[in-house]
Amino acid sequence: MEIGNFWVYFAARPLFWIVVTMIAFLVATWINRKAGGTALLHPVFVSMLMIIGLLILTKTDYNTYFEGAQFIHFLLGPATVALAVPLYDHLARIRRLLLPILVTCITGSVFAAATALAVGIAMDGDSRLLLSLAPKSVTSPIAIGISEQIGGYPSLSAGLALLTGIIGCLAAPLVFKLLKLKSETAMGFSLGLSAHGFGTAYAMQTSALAGAFAGLAMGLTGVFSSLLLPLLVRLFGI
């Protein structure tokens, strides 16, 4: 069998791209650990670059890749539901802080989208691009839904949310030092609010408490953004 045919056979199988995604992630995790765990080489970012490189080299389009990778993507749904478990574990503390949580979350969700839009408008961005930027602090599966609703490019929003997640993990240690922040709940909450799943994963490394508050912030930001962003976008007149 010619090597070309061999490739065509395998590349068409969904299984192949699942395997590629998982191997890329393991290799990227290993690279990240070797590099001392820096957020600049975030495992997701490195895997993305490796997979995009492979797709370009083999002239495979994204749809073919996604036929396999969708099975991994699908798990984002149940994983989001699963965040109810750490939330339940820290329910007592959440109840006590309910008012600060709600006030910070509503302010933060609107602020995150408004600042992103303001910078975009100041630089005279195209309106569909701006609309795709608006849900950038919302976790990808929800960002897709919001983007669809307000008229952005859904898959671009998902990607921009990922970049936001990486930026958030890079910026967080600096910001916390600058503010001399001691409260683990505030660290977790701000991470989950501004950098969704990435921030949550990052906060989990600090402590389970920070992780639970990050998960809470991520979920609530998703809820409030779904409700408020359509209104905000209208307010900005985009």
């Binding site: 750490p86 339940y88 671009l156 912030a217």
Partner: protein, 122 residues
């Protein structure tokens, strides 16, 4: 394990149906998370069969983002054209949001603690 996975999917399904039925634009998985949380509060603890798959999924959350992230390649041209706008918008907004929310949360938390202390002393 199977029961737990089924429960997660059922909550997601219920969330999706409920939001469509009520016409609320909250995505199904988030609604499902709230449904499961209410369920756990009523039940009073996290059953073992749920904890295993739930913690497994959360631990590997970042792997699940890769397929959507690779989708950025579709927008290579758009991003090449507007990379500065996208980068500045994301960096400035994320940095300011982190500062504002971390500061706000800590302040409000302290104020609440002081208030409950004051109430306790009375």
């Amino acid at each position: 394990m199977v029961q737990g996975m089924l429960l997660l999917l059922l909550c997601q399904l219920a969330g999706e149906w409920l939001m469509v039925w009520l016409g609320i634009p909250i995505p199904g998985p988030v609604a499902g998370m709230l449904i499961l949380l209410v369920g756990l509060m009523i039940y009073g603890k996290v059953p073992d069969f749920l904890r295993l798959p739930a913690e497994g999924l959360i631990r590997h959350l970042s792997l699940l983002f890769i397929p959507a992230g690779v989708g950025l390649m579709v927008f290579a041209q758009l991003l090449a054209q507007h990379w500065l706008l996208v980068l500045l918008s994301l960096v400035i907004s994320t940095l300011l949001t982190l500062i504002l929310t971390a500061w706000m949360m800590q302040k409000l938390e302290q104020r609440q603690q002081n208030r409950s202390k004051a109430n306790g002393n009375r």
